[in-house]
C-alpha cells in the first residue's frame, strides 16, 4: 500500500504552480494582457464563485491534461491507478492549501464538499471524480455530498446560464468547497456555484486540479514558457510569487 506522498510525488515532475498577479486572470489564473485584470470569459460571464484555486496549469496534450482526460475513459486497471494518483494529489494539496482557499473566500472553513456533475448524464452516474473526492481523499470524503444535478432545462453547453444545474436540497448558510478536475472556460464551475447559492449556500469557492491552457491561443506558449517547470507542494497559486 502506497502513501499519499509516494503516489503524488511524481506529479511534481509535470505540474506547474499557477501564477497570480500581473498578467494573470484574477479569477482563473490564465494568462491575460497586462492591461486586463481578468480574462475575457471571467470578465464577461457572471462570477458566482468567491475564490478559485487551480492546483496546476494543465497544458493541452501535456501529461497532466492527458491524465485528467484519461482517468475517465482509459481501460479499467490504468484508470483505477490514475484515479488513486489524482486522489493523492488532491489529498496532499488540500492538506497544505485548503486553508489558503478558505482565507481567499473570507471564511475559516468549508462545511460541505461537492463536485461539478459531468456534462453527460449517463457518465455522471459513475463519475470517477466523485469516487476521488467522496471516497478516497481523506480531507474531503467525510464532508462530501452529491448535491448537484443537471437541471432539465436545456442550456448552451459553454454558456453561463445559471439554470444548468440544480441543488437537491436546501443549503442554508453552508460554505461549500466545489471541486472539479479541469477548468477550461469556467462556465460549468460558475454555474454550479450559482445553483449552490440559489439553494442557500452562503459562499462557494472552487478547487480544480488543472487550469487548462491551450498553447496555441494568443501568446500562451510564450507565457507558459515563463512559468518555471517546477512544482512545490509548499506553494499554491494564491501564494505564488
Amino acid at each position: 500500500m502506497a502513501t499519499v506522498g509516494e503516489l503524488s510525488d511524481p506529479y511534481a515532475n509535470f505540474m506547474r504552480t499557477p501564477r497570480r498577479g500581473a498578467s494573470c486572470c484574477a479569477t482563473c489564473m490564465t494568462f491575460v494582457e497586462p492591461a486586463y485584470q481578468r480574462c475575457y470569459l471571467c470578465s464577461s460571464n457572471q462570477r458566482w464563485l468567491t475564490a478559485v484555486l487551480p492546483i496546476s496549469y494543465a497544458e493541452r496534450s501535456g501529461q497532466l491534461h492527458t491524465n485528467l482526460a484519461g482517468y475517465k475513459r482509459w481501460p479499467p486497471a490504468i484508470a483505477a491507478r490514475t484515479r488513486l494518483q489524482l486522489a493523492a494529489v488532491l489529498w496532499r494539496f488540500l492538506l497544505g492549501h485548503e486553508s489558503c482557499l478558505a482565507t481567499a473566500a473570507e471564511i475559516d472553513r468549508f462545511d460541505l464538499v461537492t463536485t461539478v456533475p459531468s456534462s453527460d448524464a449517463a457518465r455522471d452516474e459513475h463519475h470517477p471524480l466523485r469516487t476521488i473526492v467522496g471516497q478516497i481523499a481523506e480531507p474531503t470524503r467525510d464532508r462530501y455530498e452529491r448535491v448537484l444535478r443537471r437541471s432539465t432545462i436545456a442550456v448552451e453547453e459553454r454558456g453561463g446560464d445559471p439554470r444548468r444545474f440544480t441543488a437537491v436540497r436546501s443549503l442554508a448558510g453552508e460554505r461549500v468547497l466545489l471541486i472539479d478536475d479541469t477548468w477550461t472556460t469556467g462556465a460549468r464551475a460558475q454555474t454550479a456555484a450559482a445553483a449552490l447559492l440559489a439553494a442557500g449556500a452562503s459562499t462557494v469557492a472552487a478547487l480544480v486540479i488543472g487550469r487548462f491552457i491551450n498553447p496555441k491561443y494568443a501568446d500562451n506558449a510564450a507565457r507558459l514558457a515563463e512559468v518555471p517547470r517546477t512544482f512545490s507542494w509548499e506553494m499554491c497559486g494564491l501564494h505564488a510569487p
Binding site: 500500500m1 502506497a2 515532475n13 496534450s61 492527458t66 491524465n67 484519461g70 488513486l84 493523492a88 489529498w91
Partner: protein, 302 residues
Amino acid sequence: MFVATTVNHTSPNLETAALIALLRAPGARWQQIADDVEEAGSARQVLDRGPTGEQASMFGEGAASEDLTAHIADLGAWAREGMSVLTVLDADYPENLRTVYDRPPLIFVAGDLCPEDSRSVAVVGTRRPTGDGITRARRIAHHLAASGYTVASGLATGIDTTAHTAALEVGGRTVAVIGTGLRRAYPRENAGLQARIAKEGAVISQFLPDAPPTRRSFPMRNGVMSGLALATVVVEAGEISGSRMQARLALQHNRPVFLLRSLLEHDWAASMERRPGVYVVDEPEQITEAIQRLTSTALPTA
C-alpha cells in the same frame, strides 16, 4: 476490392491505412495526429478534414478522399511478413503506452504482445558495460522475469542485450523496442536476437518497417520504451546516453525511475536522485516492491 467507393468508417483496416496516410504526409506531427485521431475516434475523419492552416487552400475541399489503395497494399505486405500494426484506435494498443502524452499514433509489432506485457519494466544501460554492470543487469532481469514482469529493453549491444537474454534464459518474457523499422536490425550482430525475441516475445517499432537508424530515432524509441513500461531501471550509463534520456522521459511520463546506487558517481544521476519519483536501489527486490506499492489498488495512507 478496396477502391474507395463506399467507405466504412468502422473498418479497422481502412482506419489503419488512413492513419498511415496521415503519418506519411509531409510535415506530419505525430503527437498532434495521435491526439486528433483519438479525439475524433477515427483516422478517416481526420484525413478527410484535410490539411489545416495555410496548406488547406492549396488542396481545396476535395483533397479529402485520398486514395488509400497503396497504404492498404503495404499493410497486406507487412502482415504477410508477420508484422502487425496497432493504432491508438485499437483496443489492444498497449495500455501503458496509451497513457503517455507523447504516445505514437501507431506501433509495428513483430511477434505477439500479450495483456501480461502491461507488467513490463524497462531495463536499460550503456553499450559498453563493465563486468559488474553486466552482472547487475542479469540479476535484475532474472528477478523481474521470475516475479512475472516482462523485461523491456532496446536491443542495443551491452546492457540491453544482457537484459533481453537474461530474461529469455530463465524462460521469462521480453519485449524489444527498437530505433529502426522492423525490417532492419541495428546493430547488425543483434539480428539473431531480434528474430528470437520476435518469436518468443515481441519486437516493437514506431517507425515504418524500412526506416533507417537516425540521430533522432533512438531518443524517440526511448520515449516509447518508457511509455510501454511501468518503470525504467537504469543499470549503468554515462553523462551522454540514451538511458539518461529515457530516465528523464520516464519522469515526464509519470513513471518511476530506478537508479542503481553505483550510478551516483555520475553527476547526472546524483542530480536526478533528488527528483520526485526517483528511487536509488541496491537490490532487485527493491524495484519490484516499489512497483507493487505504486500499482496497488489499495487506498493510499496518509
